[in-house]
């Protein structure tokens, strides 16, 4: 399946992917109107350590440990390979946050559930909005082994 991969040496640390992620989730068509003056809660996060920058989001693991450890059955891996969370079933215990080795599942801002990247299959973009707008191709959406 196509996944998001990181080309660390090209990451500028601009954090635009975080804004594009938050914007995609709003479903609005004007980023300024959608995000201005509001805290953002992106599902992709850029780590900055001196000169090193890179983005991290869900790896859509082949054998996802979060799915197997979920206490409520809220996390599933679809036939398309995308790992999804059902907010209605999630009780916000954060077992998934406790077991994801990439730190890519996060508490949702309302505090009642977890959230994660679903490759923009859960919004109108259809394909990862972060990748589409990365100015330096530091994240790509493609097939790799």
């Amino acid at each position: 399946m196509k996944r998001i991969y990181v080309n660390e040496k090209w990451c500028l640390g601009c954090h635009l992917c975080e804004y594009e992620c938050a914007f995609a989730a709003t479903g609005l068509d004007d980023m300024v109107k959608a995000l201005k003056g509001r805290p953002i809660h992106p599902k992709i996060r850029v780590e900055d350590a001196g000169e090193v920058h890179f983005a991290v989001n869900c790896r859509q693991c082949k054998d996802p440990v979060c799915v197997r450890r979920c206490i409520s059955g809220a996390l599933t891996k679809g036939e398309d390979g995308v790992v999804r969370i059902d907010r209605e079933k999630c009780v916000g215990c954060l077992t998934c946050v406790l077991v994801c080795p990439y730190g890519a599942v996060m508490p949702a801002p309302d505090g009642h559930a977890a959230m994660k990247c679903q490759l923009c299959t859960d919004n109108v973009c259809g394909e990862p909005n972060c990748v589409r707008h990365c100015p330096n191709q530091a994240i790509v959406f493609e097939e790799r082994a």
Binding site: V6, F54, I71, G92, L94, C100, G111
Partner: protein
């Protein structure tokens, strides 16, 4: 091939998935004394809290059993197994044969002998959906509740019912709350939080005797209550294996692929002992995530497949009224701590490796720490100072990071 699974919770359901990942056709019979499809067992407190309901508690989709071609026998209790004849006996003299058998029998609430307990009119345990339903019927805003046990089960029960009753008091023999999950410093933070919400803790104390709706404590204090919940611990359901001649220590003894020493008999989940790689000791890890991993592994191996067993460690994700407590591993060695009035990060390092952690109200990215414990990664390979500040992938080498982020995992 005919598989029989006894138990329909996390380990049993995961075993079905494990079997079907290898064998799409073999016959699967699943026996459970509970009369329901599988539900997320730890959700019973969230049910009482109103954070979920029965329609959303199903652990797998409604078509799970049909899709996986599982013949279910719900509300049926397995009474005996005959390992030579490869049969399971249940009520009415009925039996079923197996080629491979899995014990996913879980654990049950333990009620120790307590003087006068039979005089208590409304008393409950808190392990199953039925327990939650029974307790719910007794709840009312004018009633006081006494919970024996300030562990995970007792305190999650407290969270579930606090707003639905007049008050909750919790007694525990230990000097701190969540004694098996938190150290004293972290427990103090959580205890303050809960006391501010009106929970009364009676610690380093126990019930000497009950007299109807009064508990007389060892300390001489008395506690009046209407409803009693006993949550002092659980005991593994091991009797059928022991009677059949299988080895049982604290729990059912298995190898790392969940085989017991009875031929073609496996066991997984709360009824078994596991090797805790964070402490290097064998213990019962009666935790849902562990049951899942073991159940899946057992299923794969029963069906003739191969799966590298996942190293087991204690894992707890628990919270109360919006707080979040994430813990993993063992609290051995040097403690690197940052403690604030309302949150803390406590890392335990021994022999150059992370052995455990306690994060109170600092949940972000905790899984990065968990993976270090599970894998036994030497901290010398990482930027330890960076890692101690917060879990991050920046603490790894560029090569290690590329392994994680630039290829399929």
């Amino acid at each position: 091939m005919k598989y029989v699974i006894i138990g329909n919770s996390a380990a049993g359901v995961s075993a079905v998935e494990g079997i079907r990942s290898v064998d799409k056709e073999g016959e699967i019979v699943l026996i459970s004394d509970e009369p329901f499809a599988a539900y997320g067992r730890p959700l019973i407190s969230y049910y009482l809290l109103g954070a979920t309901d029965r329609s959303r508690m199903n652990y797998r989709p409604a078509d799970f059993y049909e899709k996986n071609k599982v013949q279910t026998m719900f509300g049926v209790r397995a009474e005996r197994i005959d390992p030579d004849a490869h049969t399971v006996c249940f009520g009415g003299g009925n039996t079923t044969e197996y080629d491979k058998l899995l014990f996913a029998t879980g654990s049950r609430a333990f009620v120790p002998p307590m003087s006068g307990i039979e005089s208590v009119p409304e008393r409950f345990t808190f392990m199953t959906m039925q327990d939650a339903l029974d307790l719910e019927e007794a709840l009312s805003p004018e009633k006081e509740v006494l919970i024996i046990g300030a562990g995970l089960i007792g305190l999650k029960c407290m969270e579930g019912i606090l707003a639905r009753v007049k008050g909750v008091a919790v007694v525990d023999l230990a000097p701190r709350i969540l004694p098996s999950v938190l150290d004293a410093e972290a427990a103090a933070i959580v205890q303050r939080e809960l006391e501010a919400r009106g929970v009364q803790f009676l610690l380093s104390d126990s019930v000497a005797r009950f007299d109807g709706k009064t508990a007389h404590l060892q300390s001489g204090r008395t506690c009046a209550f209407d409803i009693l919940v006993v949550a002092v611990g659980v005991r593994p359901n091991v009797e059928l294996v022991r009677e059949a001649g299988g080895t049982v220590a604290r729990g059912i003894v298995t190898d790392e692929c969940q085989r017991t020493d009875l031929p073609d008999v496996f066991a997984a989940g709360d009824c078994t002992e596991s090797m805790d790689v964070s402490s290097g000791t064998r213990r019962i890890l009666a935790l849902l995530p562990n049951a899942c991993a073991q159940g899946f592994c057992a299923g794969v191996v029963m069906a003739g497949g191969e799966r590298a067993p996942e190293p087991a460690i204690p894992l707890n994700a628990v919270g109360f009224f919006g707080s979040h407590i994430l813990t993993a591993g063992s609290y051995e060695g040097e403690c690197i701590a940052e403690t604030y009035p309302d949150r803390c990060r406590r890392l335990f390092v021994k022999d150059g490796k992370l052995k455990g952690f306690i994060l109170v109200n600092e949940p972000e990215r905790a899984g990065i720490y968990t993976a270090l414990i599970r894998r036994g990664t030497p901290l010398a390979e990482l930027d330890e100072a960076l890692l101690c500040k917060a879990p991050c992938l920046a603490a790894f080498s560029e090569k290690a990071r590329a392994e994680m982020l630039a290829r399929e995992v």
